[in-house]
Amino acid sequence: MTLLMGSLHLGLIYGLMALGIYITFRILNTPDLTTDGSFTLGMAVSATLTVAGYPAYGILLGILAGALAGVITGLLQTKLKIHPILSGILTMSGLYTINLFILGDRSNVSLLGASHLFSWAAALLPNAAGRDITRLALTLLLACGCFAALVWFFHTHLGLCIRAVGDNDDMVRASSINVDAIRILAIALSNACVAFSGAVAAQYQGFADISSGVGMMVVGLASVIIGEMFFGRRSVTIGLLSAVCGSLLYRLIIALALKSDFFPAYALKLVSALIVTIALSLPAVRGWLQLARVKKEANQHAGN
């Protein structure tokens, strides 16, 4: 029960990040490595403001900070014409310093004793079971809210522009739309989601750690890809939904694997990397198999 509860929480919270990854990786068609930095950025801002007594502002400013990080990566990509992957890495590296600065030059900040969103939620109902429910309701509310807002957004004119830039930016330019501006906006939106995830995660787990963001990009990718295995790749709405569901599944799989001592906790990142590698290589492997089959058949015919 606690395992399921924990996976639900983590799945939904990291689902926010999966939404962000989905925006850059699938909609914009440009993987963005800012993620690792902006996740920790959201966390650091949230934790620092929570300790100072402003947990709600922590979340809001965390989101804003993430968006700003995205704008920087976007500017590097579009205006300075730096390769998208390198742009993300540059911002991410720079953010490490910024994050340490925000955390007050400490690698870890604990929220022990500070009140935050989850302690507020828990205080709504007195008994332990009720507390679990209100806390889960809070996570659910945040995740569903973000999901719904994104679904709405990607059906507005601006959302349509972002999807088109990821599909054929020549066509967008021919439609008198500023491709660079749209690209920057999309990367900002993505990193806002990622930082949102980090900001909520900090308050949920009760601490912020400078290394929390390491490998987050791969975790998010794994979620998106697991989701796509079940939902396929269809519309944006289904895509966004599959990112959140993929995150839930990912957390459940990981929790089960950890519980059954299938692999130790420190193997998590390697396992995530393997999941992503296998999923992304499936089309190529399928191609080889098909080619091998066609060749074999052709040889048989030639032999006859």
């Binding site: 004119h157 088109a164 066509m171 330019r173």
Partner: protein
């Protein structure tokens, strides 16, 4: 409508393989004038279009559209007044989006307020009537992904997308060259209709000499980045495809 004044462009300036693609080229096109453009491979026809749409900036010279100097404008700002269509049907459309989404973007021309719905019922109804005249059944497939359409259908859609917002100037770069004869004919008929209806200024690049003389009211031949021939009216009426062939300077292709 379109005034090009001494446009100059050299690619790979200062390199051993530098090439003058536009050589002090001047050209004026009136509103409603439909010109065809011919010339050997590498003559600079596509380069001229790219200069007009803003794919690169000129080394020197000016380009004016509708009295507005666009020489320094970025491509997306020029696109308000210029619709363009290329040989490759894939270039003009977003394959993973639906017909109605593609049309909505092209129709909005960046002027729709950003948070309004991207696709509205009213627009969809308008697109349906516009698509119906193509006679390709596209009007019943507004929610189909564009990637599923044939080359001819995609080119028809691109034609509608590039003209639906009333651009004023239409540039067509061998836009029927990749299509089968039936589809090509159909797109040609639609092109002529739309240009006439909207009274567009248009330039159509083609390698079909017969078409170059039959379509529109003016024929321009480009050679080595310069206008080698520019005929209209009587002179054009008297021109035969065979006589026009004589104007192609042999060997340009081998120089490239």
């Amino acid at each position: 409508m379109l005034v090009i004044d001494k446009a100059q462009k050299t690619f790979l300036q200062g390199m051993p393989n530098q090439r003058v693609a536009l050589d002090s080229l001047s050209l004026t096109l009136a509103q409603g004038e439909f010109a065809t453009m011919i010339g050997s491979n590498g003559a600079g026809k596509s380069t001229l279009f790219n200069a007009i749409t803003g794919a690169f900036l000129l080394d020197s010279g000016r380009i004016t559209v509708n009295g507005v100097d666009i020489t320094w404008r970025p491509p997306h700002k020029r696109a308000f007044q210029i619709g363009y269509l290329f040989q490759d049907p894939m270039k003009g459309t977003a394959p993973h989006m639906t017909i109605v989404e593609n049309l909505s973007l092209a129709y909005s021309r960046g002027r729709r307020s950003p948070l309004r719905p991207g696709v509205t019922k009213k627009d969809a109804a308008f697109f349906r009537t516009q698509l119906a005249r193509f006679g390709m059944g596209l009007e019943d497939r507004l929610d189909a992904k564009v990637g599923l359409l044939s080359g001819g259908q995609r080119q028809a859609l691109s034609l509608l997308m590039s003209t639906v917002a009333g651009p004023g100037l239409l540039l067509l770069d061998e836009h029927t060259a990749a299509l089968d004869p039936v589809a090509a004919e159909k797109i040609m008929v639609l092109t002529k209709e739309i240009v006439q209806e909207q009274n567009l200024a248009a330039i159509m690049i083609t390698h079909n000499i017969r078409q170059a003389l039959a379509v529109g009211s003016r024929t321009i031949m480009l050679e080595d980045g310069r206008i080698a021939l520019d005929i209209s009216g009587e002179a054009r009426k008297d021109m035969t495809p065979a006589a026009l062939m004589q104007h192609y300077t042999p060997g340009t292709a081998s120089k490239v």
